[in-house]
């Protein structure tokens, strides 16, 4: 007997993501889910951002790693709250992990929560963590065809940071090509060319964060697509 069912396979994760979203919305906390390949510079971006904006915002980080708490320790050294999730080999964070992590963060007075996902351009994109926006981080040490190879991330992200631009003279990365393909998928995508090593271009990213935080405060952020 054939039984029609029609159920979204990821519904369990999405239900919990909505619970995360409700808790963060109640505190008007902006939540950003950082997604990139391993080594693109997520932790360095966070170290910079947390240090440079520490006078302006109260920020916390949920660190997702396959193993070790190295990244959480780097982030905590800036003075921000950091909670480590070890996925024990799992390739992405999910909303149930975030929900548990929230119990270990003091949300009172918090302005921005960063979720540093496991380094991977495929799996993390499909698992909603209850964020307001996904941020794609791509480094010029990788291929400029990443947006073509991993279209879903660039389609869903609200911002893309092109990191390590201080290396541009030494690599064959075609910035225009990467920008072009990313924008084909997403006309609204905010793109920032930065070097988290020497700080170049970060002011644009910081202004975007301020604008997003303001939009969150005023309830102007639309629910992200998934």
């Amino acid at each position: 007997m054939q039984i029609p069912v029609v159920r979204n396979v990821l519904e369990a994760n999405e239900k919990l993501a909505d619970q995360v979203r409700a808790r963060l919305d109640a505190g008007k906390i902006l939540a950003l889910n950082l997604i990139s390949s391993p080594g693109a510079g997520k932790t360095t971006l966070l170290e910079r951002t947390l240090a440079d904006l520490s006078g302006e915002f109260r920020m916390a980080v949920i660190e997702g790693d396959l193993q070790t708490d190295n990244d959480a320790r780097r982030v905590a050294a800036t003075g921000a709250q950091a909670v480590q999730i070890n996925t024990e080999g799992g390739c992405h964070l999910n909303s149930s992990m975030i929900l548990q992590a929230l119990d270990n963060i003091s949300l009172d007075g918090l302005d921005i929560l960063f979720i540093e996902n496991v380094g991977n351009l495929v799996c993390p994109v499909e698992f909603d963590c209850g964020e307001d926006a996904k941020i794609a981080l791509l480094s010029v040490a990788e291929g400029d065809d990443k947006p073509e190879k991993y279209p879903l991330l660039f389609n869903l992200a609200r911002a893309m940071l092109l990191n390590k631009i201080d290396l541009l003279p030494h690599v064959d990365f075609d910035v225009q090509r990467a920008r072009n393909f990313a924008t084909r998928l997403n006309r609204e995508l905010a793109i920032f060319e930065v070097s988290c090593r020497n700080g170049q271009g970060l002011t644009g990213w910081y202004d975007w964060l301020r604008a997003m935080r303001q939009a969150k405060l005023e309830g102007r952020l639309t629910r992200p697509e998934r």
Binding site: M1, Q2, I3, P4, V5, V6, R7, N8, V9, L10, E11, A12, N13, G89, G90, C91, H92, N94, V122, C123, V125, E126, E148, P151, L152, N155, F181, T183, R184, L185, N186, R187, E188
Partner: protein
């Protein structure tokens, strides 16, 4: 068990299947009908292997998987023409066949990942 995300997705599928089977008091599972969008990021063959691995040795070890890939369809940002429909992700990089617009098309279809039906008794 491999940590690949198709395995996690397969587990999610079986959770739903168990729920639906119990709700209908079915015990015998013949087939799981699944629809997966070309942009969903799921590799059909890995998913098939993951499901087989999870079902192996259990009461539904013989159950098959009917997997339909839903091709990508885009709506043109400028003129609203819906295009695509061929297999793979090619449509993503094509300009609108009517007006030539290259940027900002919306994905109308191709992100799905859903169970469509079960064959059970």
């Amino acid at each position: 068990m491999p940590p690949m995300h198709e395995m996690v997705i397969a587990q999610n599928i079986l959770d739903i299947v168990r729920e639906e089977m119990a709700a209908r008091q079915c015990t015998r599972l013949v087939r799981i009908g699944l629809e997966c969008g070309a942009l969903s990021g799921v590799e059909p063959e890995s998913l098939r292997l993951s499901l087989e691995a999870l079902l192996d040795g259990g009461p539904w070890a013989e159950a098959g998987l009917e997997l339909r890939v839903i091709p990508l369809r885009l709506r043109c940002f400028s003129c609203g023409t819906v295009f695509g429909g061929e297999s793979g992700q090619d449509a993503l990089w094509q300009p609108c066949p009517r007006c030539g617009e290259q940027f900002g098309h919306t994905v109308e279809q191709g992100k799905e990942l859903r169970i469509s039906h079960l064959e059970a008794s």
